[in-house]
Symmetry: C2
Subunit: 434 residues, 2 copies
């Protein structure tokens, strides 16, 4: 049988991981049922020492030539970024090669163009490694849960944020200290903004929601909030109340006035300590999906790193070798949506529960006044937590029942305008069944 | 495009679930990319009321005719048992139809015959629903983790046992009471022997180990112990020591004297309360798999029940409709193992840690004597737990380091023969990294 000839673009962390598996995994051919040949490996710098020994005859600095070469069957893009990578993928597709990539930013923002080019050519774009790293997540949602209408999912998709939040709680660290530790351990980049502010999670949410809800999703429609404002104080109150804070990507398909809408958002979220996602610690990722037939399922594993990412990329390559990728790709409903994309619910209309910490002067009538503000906006209180402090100002922690973001913001504005509120209140959304 | 014509055998719990999804799921065609037609539904009794409305023209009592019919493309076996089901599947395959089944007992014991018939005919046997119910488990291990050499996995594969163990701990119930409750709630059969004694888990272990380790596995080589001997006393001690008890299917690929062997067993196992499997409660299943590239991954969901099982069966049907199932099936390495099946490690040679509860006369020198017995068999003590009781006999709880089953059994025989040991000791295996 002819081997599948792979053109690998980029020999950074992930690219070298892919090369390692292709070149060093003794049983891969046996497990895959096919010979997978690293036929070309392109990088701007092919002189530097690598962690994997690649035949110099295979190395090249000309990635574009790899994309055009008649001697390459599949192109694996491990360069990253949204300019060169995009051009290379489009070139490979126009030269009849299916492509594999982990580039979530590119696919979340320019996916439609790339997916369309592949569909038109009868090829495929495989991107299992883009979301949830090594976890067989996208394939499970796409194929394993195909019998289900998926109602909602909750996902921890950024290992940096989860590591930082885990350390804050476990080691009583401040956010800046936990972030510094994550950077020292290589779990956070020197500029961690994309991770910490939720942008990376939102890219992944875009890709996951498309497959789960079978519709194109516009990345720029998502509400995205990060974890840089989280304080250990709130994590401790949450703990006492039986909750754990996670940066979640949330996807729900809701019906408003007879019309389906997608509730898609990324923000710090309190979850019951009993929820399976609450036990996902350190740099792990996990996705909790609820299907109408299967009920809840969860997928857990390492969402980043050289070998986990390479594991998913090589699985995609095998899927192409077996001849399955293109057949699956052309059946994906997200490209054939009658009536266009399902609209995204505006944030103002999102319904959720809230945790509020208000710092107030310790005088009588304050709790009643705050409850009054909430009540006037139709928000009912589920729990109140106030300790005796013996200080002039005291923290008042309130959990609400479900309310719309619009009503909640209005109530909080009224509360924070009161003279007995001495500093801006902290608000964290809370997901639960009630 | 021509619809895929499905012949469904058996309209019990699972069969009706499959019919429900095929007939009632509005978006299924759209998600699958294919028309799936319930072309025939066979049951011995087609007069009784069903929970799903099936066109009478489709109903038949002649399952064998469905397997032979030129108007059927795929046969779904939802009858169960090892006699009629086996004959029907072999007939369907000999008539050119790929088959889908959730029948773990049949495939664990007669799989090789059925798999071989399918391979020889260029067809496929799909059995995602057999192991882990609705969780996309087998496909994830087979395809999603194909880049990995899998070193070990730990799996909760029987919802009945997990429900019973959860209730015992959470509600302080005895085993018989928890089992009775499980029966009342429909989580346990009226004769629960197969579930409780680990046989069902062992069937699933056989199928999972074949795919994870790419070798045929003989079901009758597995060591199988159930949970009927578990007492709440030991669950409480375990809790105090930071452990949780689960009925686990364990699979490891170990190298002994340069030869690969499979360590495969089903037994009650203590796990650290921090382990992701420890948080798997009630009737849920989960599988924790460690691959050399991806590291640990976990899959979690409902392992049984009408709709979860039907969810997996319909996913298999879609995989056939897309033309992928047969292509994947013929690449499965487990049938092409050079040099035959990987041997199973005899239980005597298995290395693990142990929890021991010995009931002894409360007199001096007893602990030293017991430690001496263990030491003489090369077993070192990791922890000892003994409280002041003020009674003539006291429980002594010991956690050991790793030892072979052979050495451990010999040491326990010597200990239980001592006159200061007043009742047979309890021994539970413990899995941890040390």
């Amino acid at each position: 049988m002819k081997p599948l000839r792979i053109g690998l673009l980029g020999l950074g962390t992930v690219g070298q991981g892919v090369a390692k598996i292709l070149l060093e995994s003794e049983d891969l051919r046996y497990r895959a049922g096919f010979d997978l040949e690293l036929a070309a490996a392109a990088d701007l710098d092919i002189e530097r020492p690598l962690d994997v020994e690649i035949d110099p005859a295979v190395l090249t600095t000309d990635a574009m030539a790899v994309c055009k070469s008649p001697d390459i069957d599949v192109v694996v893009e491990a360069i990253g970024g949204k300019t060169v990578a995009r051009e290379l993928l489009m070139t490979a597709l126009s030269h009849g090669k299916s492509v594999v990539t982990a580039n979530k930013a590119l696919l979340a923002e320019y996916g439609y163009e790339i997916f369309s080019a592949a569909l038109d050519a009868g090829l495929s774009v495989s991107y299992e490694a883009s979301t949830g790293g090594g976890i067989p997540l996208l394939s499970s949602v796409r194929d394993g849960l195909v019998a289900n209408s998926i109602g909602e999912f909750y996902a921890i998709l950024n290992g940096t944020c989860n590591y930082v939040l885990t350390r804050m709680v476990a080691d009583n660290m401040s956010f800046p200290d936990a972030l510094k530790l994550a950077q020292q351990l290589g779990y956070a980049e020197s500029d961690p903004t994309f991770d910490i502010e939720g942008v990376d999670t939102a890219h992944k949410l875009t890709l996951l929601a498309q497959l789960a809800f079978h519709t194109p999703v516009a990345f720029d429609k998502l509400r995205v909030e990060g974890i840089s404002g989280i304080s250990i104080t709130d994590l401790r109150y949450a703990e006492q109340l039986g909750y754990v804070l996670k940066l979640l990507a949330i996807g729900k398909c809701v019906e408003i006035d007879g019309e389906e809408k997608l509730d898609l958002r990324v923000h710090p979220t309190l979850l019951s300590a009993e929820h399976p996602l609450a036990a996902v610690r350190d740099n792990f990722n996990a996705v909790y999906v609820v299907g109408d037939a299967v009920g809840p399922v969860m997928f857990y594993g390492q969402g980043a790193g050289r070998m986990p990412t390479a594991s998913a990329i090589v699985a995609d390559i095998v899927d192409i070798a077996r001849g399955n990728a293109a057949q699956t790709f052309r059946t994906l409903a997200l490209f054939r949506r009658a009536g266009g994309a399902t609209p995204v619910l505006p944030m103002d209309d999102v319904q959720t529960r809230y945790y509020i910490r208000v710092t107030v002067l310790d005088k009588s009538g304050v709790l009643a006044a705050i409850a009054g503000h909430l009540g006037r906006h139709g928000i009912s209180v589920a729990a109140v937590h106030q300790k005796e402090f013996g200080t002039p100002t005291v923290p008042l922690v309130i959990l609400t029942h479900r309310a719309s973001e619009r009503a909640f913001r209005a109530a909080m504005k009224a509360i924070d305008d009161e003279e007995y509120v001495t500093e801006p209140s902290t608000c964290i959304r809370l997901e639960s069944d009630t």
